[in-house]
Amino acid sequence: MRTGFVSSDLASGDARVPDHTGLSKEAINRDFPILSRKINGKRLVYLDSAATTQKPQCVIDRIESYYASQNANVHRGLHTLAEEATSAFEATRDKIASFIGGVRREEIIYTRNATEAINLVAQSWGRKHIRENDRIVITRMEHHANLVPWLVLAEETGAELEYIPVDSQGRLILDNISNIIDSRTKIVALTQMSNVLGTINPVDEIIEVAHRRNAMVLIDGAQSVPHLPVDVKALDVDFMAFSAHKMLGPTGIGILYGRESLLDRMEPLIYGGEMISEVRYDSADWAELPWKFEAGTPNIAGAIGFAPALDYLNSTGMDKIREHEIELTEHALDRLAGLKFIRIYGPTSSEQRGGIISFVDSEIHPHDLAQFLDASGIAVRAGHHCAQPLMGLLGVNSTARASFYIYNTKDDIDELVSALRDARRYFIND
């Protein structure tokens, strides 16, 4: 089984590190089998990592080796396969706990995805603590996953849903923050990085304000945890949600981090096997953390296959990844600025944003554009990116979006730029 980079590859600064990022083309192409696929006869240029990332061979191999040699249901099994599966399943939990800053393993709950993780908080914590006239604060740039659950909770409880506004560059407007987060505010839920604009939000500042008001804070880390070093302890955040599939890992595995003292007092959302300590015909007791929230047979292969993804990120280094993405983003902003017909949304400084760039062509509809790019082997997304209300704010119905990760190169961006020019010729004889 290949395990991706080993630290020595990175430390040595040798020929495999051409971008000063430790991410050599050869290593990347070796590690990500899909990149050798041809799309419509062209090399695949995958610029849709904000939707889901590609998987390194080590992840694919681990899923295969699990199914081919260790497959068993976890917990309680006394036989060898069950013990091996359980210990691998639980070992991933430990890796996650240390990946986000060294929290306790009890604080890491496996869910299906970031969406379910947020819902768990909105429903279990929310229904218990949110009352009429309380305030829930989110932002105008949230993904539906961090908007709709709060909208529903506000409606159910009679609480107010208040939005932190966004400026014309796609940054949060915090001038009025201590009026928005007021004494009635019970929870603030916001994304650390916008999946449309790329904006990186100053969550530390907001956490501080919220905690002064005794409000809880949930960070939607779906876009930040894969791309930035994130330390939940340093942030002092109460809940954080993210998804394995957006950080080289398998689909069907999401993570809720929650402070133990909060999780301890929350009710489960799903009831069944594994989440109980004792069941009688007329009552039941819940299991300890983290299992209280994990009813039924979990996505065992998904959790086990997530471990080598974390290893891969760790051995590459989250700092290096961030650096690499800043470099790509600067290059992309720079090159796209040269296309007069392209309008870019979001912050203009690469320090304030991640590698997600939403744009529109002045005359070509994003759907047509994405379709054309696909014919050139370039995968971008077009649509509302699960942030419909934000689209309204931006004054568009949809945008095209290119998003980068560890395996992208400047060449990829250059191909995008050149295909955007071709699209003008194709659609409007420009």
Binding site: H365, H367, D368, Q371, A375, G383, H384, S398, F427, I428
Partner: protein, 154 residues
């Protein structure tokens, strides 16, 4: 595979996209509906006046991608002067054509034939159907004596 792309974006489609027919205002329509595709935000507004059962005048104002705009334009072209029941038949044939389903018909679809290239791009089928769904919803509502507020492709 640029061939498949070319097969969808045929000249005739691009022509309708650039110069959409029916792009006008009808102030006192007998039938009107607005349709939208929540996936991409495309919106189409259809209004028409009737002379008995026959369509006298029609406007289609569609803001969207090449496929949805062209399909709306072709709709305007095609159904002017037809009866309501003709329109329903045509809409059925167009739907089958776009979805790549077999249908037995001797209807001459004219420009609309060009929409068959869409069948290779499943996600675009809704774009091509947007105006048709909007019109048919309005007709069906009228038949049961109701009016529609809006249609969606979801």
């Amino acid at each position: 595979m640029t061939e498949q792309l070319d097969d969808m974006y045929r000249d005739i489609i691009m022509e309708h996209y650039r110069y959409p027919r029916g792009h006008k205002e009808i102030s006192e329509p007998d039938l009107a509906n607005q349709g939208h595709n929540p996936v991409c935000g495309d919106v189409t507004e259809i209004k028409l006046t009737l002379d008995g059962d026959r369509i006298e005048d029609i406007s289609v104002n569609c803001v969207g991608c090449a496929i949805s705009v062209a399909s709306g334009s072709m709709l305007a072209d095609m159904i002017e002067g037809k009866t309501i029941s003709d329109v329903r038949k045509i809409a059925e044939v167009v739907r089958a054509l776009i979805k790549g389903e077999e249908i037995d018909t001797d209807l001459d679809l004219g420009d609309l034939e060009a929409l068959e290239g869409v069948r290779n791009f499943p996600v675009r089928i809704k774009c091509a159907l947007l105006s048709w769904t909007t019109l048919v919803d309005a007709i069906e509502a009228r038949e049961v004596g109701q009016t529609v507020e809006a249609s969606t492709t979801e």
